[in-house]
Structures are given as structure tokens and as C-alpha cells.
Symmetry: C2
Subunit: 476 residues, 2 copies
């Protein structure tokens, strides 16, 4: 388990898979394309889920649960939607020993089943807004899968809201992409670009798709979350109208938004190194691991006395900790093991440390080792964890800025993409041009930036003046 991983410089994809498996985050399952999320990986997802669930409720949302099986005909009601999802569907044709009259698809996303219910629930402006979220599994048949990043089944949340006006629904879509930004930046220590997708890249059925894009350790982009303004598309497909305050019947406006277990993959890829995971303290299942070191019962007693007082202090401070008291493996094995698992702080206490009423503190992010008196450690450990959190974030931000280049010509753009990194530029091109660039460079427009570095500039391809600054990059 604690043996090394393939170095990133040698084979980044192999490094990723090694870390996922050796840190016991996930495992391959006997079903092609599906993964098993192991307890340590699931604990990361629980942290993400708890943060979001709290923020969703604070912003007025409630949870509900809709059926996983959807009549095939429902998908077809929204033309773009079915076109986008048809190739990825898993289809149930038999149930209870009989062939079904109409095949059912396993939800690839729930707009259709949810809007078929909203038709029953929404009659008047008094029923709006409807702000519902769902935690669920979805299935999208994928040909090339990767643990966490792209699997046939994955876990996610999907918000589906209904509003009386388009402005309100747009506002909601913006509010939620900002909640995702907060999750990434404040909890996952992951700086993101927030922006809008181009027509080519938007969600099947959306008017506008907003996205957060992060840079991974290999300088590729990863789409970490999306939020869609759906206009009246699904309301029209499912005939959902409401009586307005002025007694007019009108179609309802919608938003939807989601993030998935892919975020666990983002954390691994953004922060990890050749020793394994590096977890930001706010998401780490264990923020501190204690490794007691002793060889005889006398030393053990001495060491464990200190360990107990540490545990008490951690409990009082609400710190998530773990004491590795396994007697079947060596301290060195434990050090490697918890480095692989990315625990932010390791505390080593041997008999000599105990004699001095102190301990060795080891930071996972910098490797820094410091001997500290136990009281000094207890008083500073929360602050140290915050410092690690901030420092991991700063590190990623610096890395992204170092690997972002402003480009003015297509040649420059190609050069940046080939070398690896984000190419930032202005854009006034069309869909075909975007497709051509993708064919030639494998890069796509990740987003039209909300926060621009300049107000306007000439389009990298057409030279036309444009106010839309974009990021081009290869992506996951």
C-alpha cells in the first residue's frame, strides 16, 4: 500500500491512478467503467457534500428525491437535450421478469423527470420560486473512463429551480456558480476561473452555461462545476405554466446546476506530488495524524500519556485527528502511508520527545519538520492548519499564473497549448473556427471570463475587436 507511485514527470496519468489506488480512495469494479469509492475517498466526498448542503440550505434550497428511472420518451421532449444525452444512456428493458412496454433510461441528469413533476406542483406565482436540490447517482455510458474524473456511474448533486422571471433564474444560475467557486477556493484550496461557456461547450438544453475551471498539476483544465440558465426550454417541453400576479398564464423560467465526485479527482490532481496526496486541511478526513513511537512498555506508557493529552486538546478544538497505534507496522511505514494519504500535519512522539515534553511536527505540503514543546504545538496547531490551507491555495494560484500566457496570434496560441498551460486571449470567432482549433490543437475555449485582465482586445483569430476574453486549454 505504501510503496511509491509512478513519478508525475514520467507518466502523469499513471501517477494519478497509482495515487487513487494506493491512497485507497477508489478501486476498479467488475463492471466496466464503474468505480468503487472506498471509505477514505468517500470521506472526502462527505466533506464536499456537507459544505455544499449547508450553503444550499443557507441560500433557501431544500432537498428532495426523484426517481432514477425515466421513460425514454421524456428525454425526447427537449430536442437539444436528447441529442446531447442519447449516446450515453443505459436502458432498462426488463423488470420483474417481463419486457417493459416502454424502455426506461437511468437518469443521466434529471431535468426531464423533475419538470414533469413541476407541471403538477406549479400553478401560480405563489408556488414560485421552487428551489430544489437532489443528491443522487447518475449514469452516463462512457467509452474511456478514469477513476473519479469520468465514470459511467457517478455521485453528484443537481439543483433544479423554477422562477417567475428570466432575470430571477439567471440570478440563481449566477448565485450557484459562485457557491461552487467558494467551495473550490475556500475548501478545496483550488483557484478557479469563473465564466460562461461558448455555444459549442454549453449544456444540452441550456440558454447559458456558467462554469468554474481549474488548472491541474499537468497544466490541463478541469471543469469543476456548471450552472445553467435554461430559459423556458424545459417549461415549454413539459408545458409548465404559472398564473402571474397580473393573471396571465406564462411559461416558467429555470436553472439547473451540479457538481460531482469528479471534484475528488480535481483535489488529487491539483495538489498531489510524487509522495501521494496533499489534502487541504478543510477537506481532509484527518487533519492531523499522531504516530507514537516506542519499543518497550515503559516507553509506551510515557509516549501514550502525551498522546492522550494531545487527543483531548484536538477534541476540544474540533480537530479531526487519527492516532495510528498499529503495532504490526513500523513508524517509517506509517510515515509513508500518511504521506500517501495526504494528511496535512503529522505528529511524531518518541520516548526522547516525551522526556522533553515535546513532539516533532511534520507538514505534508512543505515537508518542514519542527520540534515543538507540546503546549506550543497545541496553541498553534489550528493556526498552522489554516496556514497550510492558505499556502496550498497560494501555491496553486502561483502555478496557474506561471502557466498562463496572453496570446495575440494563432501561432502563439498553438505554441502555448503544445508546451502546456492556459492561453488567454480575446475572441470573436464562430463555432466552426472553435472546432478547427480543437481539431488542430486539442484545446477548447474553457470559458469566457467574468473577470478580465483588460476590457477589450483583438480576436486571436479574426483580429476583430472583442470584449470577450477567453481561456484556451486542453482539458479533462
Amino acid at each position: 500500500m505504501s510503496k511509491g507511485v509512478t513519478p508525475r514527470s514520467k507518466d502523469y496519468a499513471k501517477w494519478y491512478t497509482d495515487v487513487v489506488q494506493k491512497a485507497e480512495l477508489a478501486d476498479y469494479s467488475p463492471v466496466k467503467g464503474c468505480m468503487v469509492i472506498r471509505p477514505y475517498g468517500y470521506a472526502l466526498w462527505e466533506q464536499i457534500r456537507d459544505f455544499l448542503d449547508r450553503r444550499f440550505k443557507e441560500t433557501g434550497h431544500v432537498n428532495a428525491y426523484f426517481p432514477m428511472l425515466i421513460p425514454e420518451s421524456f428525454l425526447k421532449k427537449e430536442a437539444e437535450h436528447v441529442e446531447g444525452f442519447a449516446p450515453e444512456l443505459a436502458v432498462v428493458t426488463h423488470g420483474g421478469g417481463k419486457e417493459l412496454e416502454e424502455p426506461l433510461v437511468i437518469r443521466p441528469t434529471s431535468e426531464t423527470i423533475i419538470w414533469s413533476m413541476y407541471k403538477k406542483w406549479i400553478n401560480s406565482y405563489r408556488d414560485l420560486p421552487l428551489l430544489i436540490n437532489q443528491w443522487a447517482n447518475v449514469v452516463r455510458w462512457e467509452m474511456r473512463t478514469r477513476l473519479f474524473l469520468r465514470t459511467t456511474e457517478f455521485l453528484w448533486q443537481e439543483g433544479h429551480t423554477a422562477h417567475a422571471t428570466g432575470e430571477e433564474a439567471e440570478e440563481e444560475a449566477h448565485r450557484m456558480i459562485d457557491v461552487y467557486r467558494q467551495l473550490c477556493e475556500e475548501t478545496l484550496a483550488l483557484p478557479v476561473h469563473v465564466g460562461r461557456k461558448t455555444e459549442n461547450e454549453k449544456f444540452a438544453g441550456a440558454v447559458n452555461t456558467y462554469t468554474i475551471e481549474a488548472m491541474m498539476g499537468d497544466m490541463r483544465a478541469l471543469q469543476a462545476g456548471t450552472s445553467h440558465y435554461l430559459g423556458q426550454n424545459f417549461a415549454k417541453a413539459f408545458d409548465v405554466k404559472f398564473q402571474s400576479e397580473d393573471n396571465v398564464m406564462e411559461y416558467v423560467y429555470a436553472s439547473s446546476w451540479g457538481v460531482s465526485t469528479r471534484l475528488v479527482g480535481a483535489v488529487i490532481m491539483a495538489h498531489g506530488d510524487d509522495q501521494g496526496l496533499i489534502l487541504p486541511p478543510r477537506i481532509a478526513p484527518y487533519q492531523i495524524v499522531i504516530v507514537p513511537i516506542y519499543k518497550n512498555p515503559e516507553d509506551k506508557e510515557k509516549v501514550m500519556e502525551l498522546v492522550n493529552s494531545l487527543e483531548k486538546a484536538f477534541k476540544d478544538q474540533g480537530i479531526r485527528y487519527h492516532t495510528d497505534d498499529r503495532e504490526t507496522v513500523s513508524p517509517g511505514f506509517k510515515f509513508n502511508d500518511w504521506e500517501m494519504k495526504g494528511v496535512p500535519l503529522r505528529v511524531e512522539i518518541g520516548p526522547k520527545d516525551a522526556d522533553k515534553n515535546g513532539l516533532m511536527r511534520v507538514r505534508r505540503d512543505t515537508g518542514e519538520k519542527t520540534f515543538l514543546a507540546i503546549d506550543a504545538f497545541i496553541h498553534s496547531c489550528k493556526e498552522t492548519l489554516e496556514d497550510i490551507q492558505q499556502s496550498i491555495y497560494n501555491n496553486r494560484l502561483a502555478f496557474r499564473e506561471e502557466n498562463t500566457t496572453d496570446v495575440a496570434t494563432y501561432d502563439e496560441l498553438k505554441e502555448v497549448i503544445e508546451k502546456g498551460g492556459f492561453a488567454r486571449t480575446f475572441w470573436a470567432g464562430d463555432s466552426d473556427m472553435e472546432n478547427r482549433i480543437q481539431e488542430e490543437t486539442k484545446a477548447t475555449i474553457r470559458c469566457i471570463l467574468f473577470e478580465k485582465t483588460k476590457e477589450s482586445g483583438p480576436c486571436v483569430m479574426t483580429g476583430k475587436p472583442s470584449t470577450e476574453q477567453v481561456i484556451f486549454s486542453k482539458s479533462y
Copy 2:
């Protein structure tokens, strides 16, 4: 929404469905047999989930997630298991536009997929015990469905543990049925009988099944949770062996245990009355609802001042509350609405109450109305909620005892079952006899009681002396 429900005495089944829909707990979906869990119903499930998740973690368990799709061949590896589940399977035959080489079934329960993984993870006694739980959806094709109680798809948790000895796995199965008992008795205010299932009634693939059985408002039994000792059945089916401390290769011992969204149905049926739901405070999404009453801005100001101080007090005390400040419906409408939704305490504040610095407190369980000074209310409300919790439990316990009869002959048994209620008796019969009784009376042995009223007695059918005291009842 707040219109009345069918009285229980007139049509219990209709009453149940009315309450579920009018209290907005769940709704029928366009997919046969599947339900939509609406936000208010889902909030009940969240309370149940949070209680259990905490208890699972306190008892050393961790969460994980396994694929929902299982190769059809896996189900066939445990002979009894496939026989039990084959008629209920939903089968995916197509994925990504192609017919699959091997059909996949949607999990009806996850023993097979989980034990196929345990084979990879378990090698030595050092890997044991493995104490994993999963929160998931499952699908069992049901012909006759009822909201919450029996639906094709439902939400549940399933624990799957692996142990080095049979004693340890048995102990685990007992520990977890006791956690379920605590959930029912302490949180849901639902007294339960704890016991073992007969051979006829046990889980397909188990050596022993333990169960908790509750009495519903119509005197039928409802199985509220089960825990299974699986022996080495699944370890043998999936060839999962471990090296013992004595260097011997041995098959692993297993337990599994689960409760589902059916528990929400149990809460409705056990406590509800002809005005709707009655929720025990510990599970109620809102423990207190505040209904401010006013007609003019002056009164509103006066009333809302009191409301604000109440809200502050509730927040400080960690009480879940809701202020119904809708201006589009009347106070009477609100009273009915929150009675339907079973909120334990309602607080009414009108201008006259405000003048006296007081409020009207209304208990949902007893209907009792009391005028109280605001300070007196604030100081007593937690205690009142506890009193309601206990009183609902006592009420259900008394109801069950009133409707439980000790029977000594088959005629007596038949009489009790026909009248409605639990028939308690000793049992030394066989499977065939049990089947015959079921055919003739529709009653089954719900459980062989852990807590007996007497050490032994003659079997109700054979007259043979027996130490196994059982409950016969019709059930959901």
C-alpha cells in the same frame, strides 16, 4: 392542500395515501411504482439518516459507495440469494447505444458486488473486521406498490461487515439491530419488538435474520429494520478467505443490515390521526411553527416584535422552527396546514396576546391549548417538546399492549388476527404449518421474541413445550 383527509375509520389505506400527499411528503411519479420524495418527506429521511450515520460512526463503521449496476451472473453465485431476488430485478440490456454482452441488474441489495470487492481487499486477519456502510438507492420490481412502504426504487442504507469469527459477525448483527431499536424508540417514538425471523421469513442468503417489528395504527405489524448474520455464505460464493493469526486460510464471516425510506411510512401510520401527521419532536423538520396574526400594520409591528424575540430564543436553544408569515392565506388555513404536517407545537400570537406579552401554545398530539407568558413559554418549550416525544411513545406502547393478546389455541389465534392486533404465543411448528396459517389467516410469525413474557409454554399448534415465544400478525 389543507383540505381534510379520509377518516382512518372509513378507509385506512386511503387515509394513509391522503396524508402522504396532503402533507406533501411524497407524490406519484410518471414511472409505475416509483415515487417522488418531496422536500418535507425528504427532511424526515434526513433526520433518520443523520441519527443513524452518527451512530454508525460511533460504532466504528465507515461509509463507502459501490456500483449500482451488477453483472447478472453475480446474483447467481449464492443459490438462495438469487432465488429470493430474481423475480424482482430490473435489467439493463443496452448501454451507449449497444446491446451489452452481459446484462446488468440494478442492485436490489449489494451483497454480491460488495463481496466481489472484499475478495480483493481481504487477505489477512489484519484486514478484519471490515465495517462498511453505504447510503444508496435500490430497485426491486414490485407489483403492488404504496408510497414509502413498498416502492420499486427506494433509498436505504446497507451495512456489510466482514469478520474473522462467526461469533464476532453474530455480535455485529445483534449490535446493529439494537441501533435500529434505539432509532425507533428514541427518535421515532415507535416501540418495537426485537427478535429473530423464522426460516420462512429470513433474508435470502442469511443464516439468521434479526428484525424489529412495530404496530401501526390499524394494528398491523410493520418490519422496520433487519440485520442478518450471513455466516460464510457470501464468502464461499465469492471465495473470500483470510489468513488467520495461526496461519490458516479460512472463509470470512459476514453480517449485513439495513433500513429504508419505509421508516417514513411507519412514522406516518403509527402516529397520524384524522387531522394528518403527528411528528415526534426529535424527527420533526420543524419542531415549532409560529403563526403571527394581525390585520393592520400597527398590530403587525407589535406581533412581529414578539415573533422576533421568540425566533432568537429558538435559535439559541437549537430548536428547529418556522415562522409562517404568508399573507395570502388566513390563520385558520395555516392552523390546518401545520396540523396536517404534524408540527409538534404551534404558537399563535395575535395583537391581544402581544398586549399581554403572551402567546397561545397548541400541542399537536393532544390538541391542548394553553395561554402562556412569553418568558414562561421560552423557558419551558424544550421540556414541552421532550414531554410530547415521551407522551407519543407511551401512547403507542399502550396501544400496542391493548391490542396484543396471548393465545393458547389456533382458534384463539384466528380470532385475534381477524379482530386485528398481535397474537403472542409459543411456537414449535414447522415451515409447512406456518404456510398453512398464513394461507388461512394472512398472518405470519413476525418474530421470535428476544424479550419473552414467560420462559416457556406449549406450542399453539402442536402443544409441544417450547421456549420460543412469537408474535403472529398481519403485516405490511
